[in-house]
């Protein structure tokens, strides 16, 4: 397929692999965190690590929108979905995330909740138009990539005077999550998590641009290379990171120049600023309460804010005890370090969120890579 196959070319991959192998210094290791689940997925699906020298270690980050949703927020969504007249529209992966009491949105659906899987926020708005007698709620999740579309449908809903549409907002912010990881004791004090650099987000950066990462590069002395989600993008980013480490540089470099600029997408950012404001703090699975790390609807949009409209009470629920999703999302543990990985926790019977989304570290390793760890 044109414009896709070019970025999955095996011959080019071998060329870059040879360059990386020649560039790595003997006797040292390179630990790079790929922040995004999109990168985690690409690395597993195309077998990228097979082409990297053993001294380059990829550490999975928390950039999987479904994975970082805490149990409490899913519980809140389920409560809402079970109310009379409510139609809850959600992205597909979310329906399988385990919540309290053995429930998930999918199980709530079997109990009579009207949960509909949509591919975009616009589909939720369409349902609201078509079913004026129902309360249609869009379960908005995701990083900066999915936020502008939510803002767009909100603006459309207001312009059309739709009174039966609202948004349960769970949009989160990438830079806050990166800062939180860099500030964590495992990275800063204990040194149990070594991070020599970041493969920076692809789609998120098309919106926010390369500029927001400059602070991390400078303040924490960590190189960041923004990379596309194709496997050759990842290979090239790794090569650029290895070179930065070797040369003692800590800069923001952009491998994904075909889509990302330093400033990002001004229109999308304006749209988001029009509709959303920062939350004082927000709970992330694995990271706990992270200050100023998520968005909510501004007061003037409160008519469309499901949390206010339905007087939803904030819930905080601890993760299941056996589940290591939290440590895995922080890069502290690998999926195989979790006792329930592949035994009690599988994609069919997930205990933690990282086993649900195809971008989750556990699901990616289970689906594509568990033969590597099978004795």
């Amino acid at each position: 397929m044109k414009y896709v196959d070019e970025y999955r070319d095996g011959a080019l991959a071998r060329t870059i692999a040879a360059r990386i192998a020649a560039a790595v210094r003997p006797g040292r290791t390179y630990h790079f965190m790929e922040f995004c689940g999109g990168h985690t997925h690409a690395i597993s699906r195309y077998g990228v690590t097979d082409l990297l020298p053993p001294s380059v270690v990829m550490v999975h980050g928390p950039g999987c929108p479904v994975c970082v949703l805490p149990v409490g927020r899913i519980d809140m969504a389920i409560e809402l979905a079970l109310r009379e007249k409510v139609v809850l529209c959600t992205y597909a992966d979310t329906v399988r995330v385990p919540a309290s009491g053995g429930l998930s949105l999918m199980k709530a659906k079997a109990r009579g909740a009207d949960v509909r899987m949509v591919y975009s926020a616009a589909d939720a708005l369409r349902i609201a138009r078509e079913e004026p007698g129902r309360e249609v709620v869009f379960f908005a999740i995701g990083f900066e990539t999915t936020t502008p579309p939510t803002a767009l449908v909100l603006r459309e809903a207001r312009a059309a005077g739709l009174s039966n549409f609202s948004v349960f907002c769970n949009h989160v912010l990438t830079p806050s999550a990166i800062a939180h990881i860099l500030e964590s004791p495992e990275v800063r004090e204990l040194g149990t998590v070594v991070i020599d650099g970041f493969v920076g987000p692809a789609h998120v950066s098309t919106v926010i641009g390369a500029q927001p990462y400059e602070y991390f590069a400078e303040e924490y002395r960590k190189p960041v290379v923004i990379a596309g989600f194709e496997p050759l993008d990842v290979m090239l980013a790794v090569e650029m990171l290895v070179r930065q480490v070797n040369e003692g540089r800590a800069e923001v470099e952009n491998e994904f120049t075909r889509a990302v600029t330093r400033e990002g997408n001004a229109r999308a950012k304006d749209l988001v600023a029009e509709v959303f404001e920062l939350r004082r703090s927000f709970e992330w699975r694995g990271l706990g309460l992270v200050p100023y790390s998520a968005l909510r609807l501004k007061t003037e949009w409160s008519a469309f804010d499901a949390e206010r409209r339905f007087a939803m009470a904030d819930r905080r629920v601890p993760d299941p005890k056996a589940c290591e999703c939290g440590a895995i999302l922080r890069g502290v543990k690998k999926p195989v370090d979790c006792k329930v990985f592949g035994t009690a926790c599988t994609p069919e019977t997930p205990i933690g969120s990282c086993m649900v989304s195809s971008e989750g570290a556990c699901a990616a390793h289970y689906t594509y890579g568990r033969y590597r760890s099978a004795a």
């Binding site: 070319d9 095996g10 082409l51 033969y371």
Partner: protein, 349 residues
């Protein structure tokens, strides 16, 4: 019934009529519908006897029976409809034992209010598919459920065939070293259906591959009687089928991604829907596993048949105590091709 039939005052209204509860009541309305729709379309000596069962001659060999219920949504899709699909699906299940399909039965569950014109289109498509396959529909059943309790039309078909002595095709016969072949491009049916789903309608020229494969199987067996496994990768696609066989046979498999045929349009649609063509349903493709020494001849026989034109060798059976299906990616790495988790595409067949 003989030539002097139609003791009904007015014929069934196939223009504007709708299915109603009387069509499943066992009374005159049902008899008329059977008479003017099903018997007329499927027409054969056994149906004309108008008994509740068919008495059938059986050639020598072992009896092969398969049954399949069809609930596809939408009922009409590019390249086919639930009618021909219900014939092909069951003919293929019988054929995958290396058997010659001989007879089909058909059970209909109709929803009250469904347009008779559409029902006739479905039944005629089914009749045409059965005639083309040379497999008569010899007995059937019709039930009607209240509006809202069904989804237009559900069809169950059962197929009966015979497999001669000496042909031993089974999912537990794959051995390390065997070659894995597919008969053509993967994912066409699933993507054709997806293109019509209301929440993601997109324009495409991709048509379902729905087809009866027993002719292809006969040609393959004539060339290589020792084929070890045959299976049609329907729901769950190639990935699921290979995992089933790996588990049944107690082996592993290793695929070469670059050798797996996928149409560019299907690959593109999968790309933006976030699907993997290896998991998307097919209705006119088969997977064959054979001795590596037979591979060349089998591939030649497949490619000589119109339904196997794009046949390809996609990998080999290996020893693996974990029964993993692995794949060397086009990119140059390796990964697993696991069982389908959850539900990728509901109601695809």
């Amino acid at each position: 019934m003989t030539g002097t039939r139609r003791p009904y005052v007015r014929p069934v209204d196939f223009k504007a009529g709708l299915v109603d509860m009387s069509h499943g009541s066992g009374g005159r309305a049902m008899a008329q519908l059977i008479d003017e729709l099903f018997v007329e379309a499927f027409d054969n000596a056994w149906l004309r006897e108008m008994n509740d069962q068919a008495r059938l001659p059986m050639p020598p060999g072992r009896l092969v029976v398969a049954t399949d219920s069809h609930v596809v949504s939408p009922l009409f899709f590019p390249g086919g409809d639930i009618g021909c699909l219900s014939v092909h699906g069951t003919v293929n299940d019988v054929a995958m034992a290396g058997a010659r399909p001989l007879y089909l039965t058909a059970g209909f569950i109709l929803e009250e209010g469904y347009p008779l014109a559409d029902l006739r289109r479905i039944v005629r498509s089914m009749a045409a598919a059965a005639r083309e396959a040379g497999v008569p529909i010899v007995t059937g059943d019709t039930k009607v459920v209240e509006k809202g309790k069904g989804d237009g039309v559900f069809i169950n078909t059962t197929g009966i065939g015979v497999v001669p002595e000496g042909i031993e095709i089974s999912g537990d016969r794959a051995r390390p070293g065997d070659a894995i072949l597919v008969s053509g491009t993967l994912g066409d049916h699933g993507v054709a259906i997806m293109s019509l789903r209301e929440n993601l309608a997109f324009e495409t020229t991709i048509a379902s591959d729905t087809a009866a494969l027993h002719g292809l199987v006969a040609a393959m067996l004539a060339s290589v009687p020792g084929i070890r496994c045959l299976r049609d990768p329907t729901r769950g696609g190639l990935a699921t089928t290979l995992n089933e066989i790996a588990r049944q046979s107690g082996v592993g498999m290793r695929l070469e991604e670059d050798s797996i045929p996928v149409r560019a349009e299907v690959a593109a649609a999968c790309e933006f829907l976030g699907l993997d063509p290896l998991y998307v349903a097919n209705e006119g493709k088969l997977v064959a596993i054979c001795d590596p020494g037979d591979c060349g001849r089998l591939l030649e026989a497949m490619r000589a048949h119109p339904l196997g034109r794009d046949a390809a060798r996609v990998g080999e059976v290996v020893e693996d105590p974990h029964h993993f299906v692995q794949m060397r990616t086009g990119f140059g790495g390796s990964r697993m091709v696991d069982w389908l988790a959850g539900e990728q595409l509901p109601r695809i067949c």
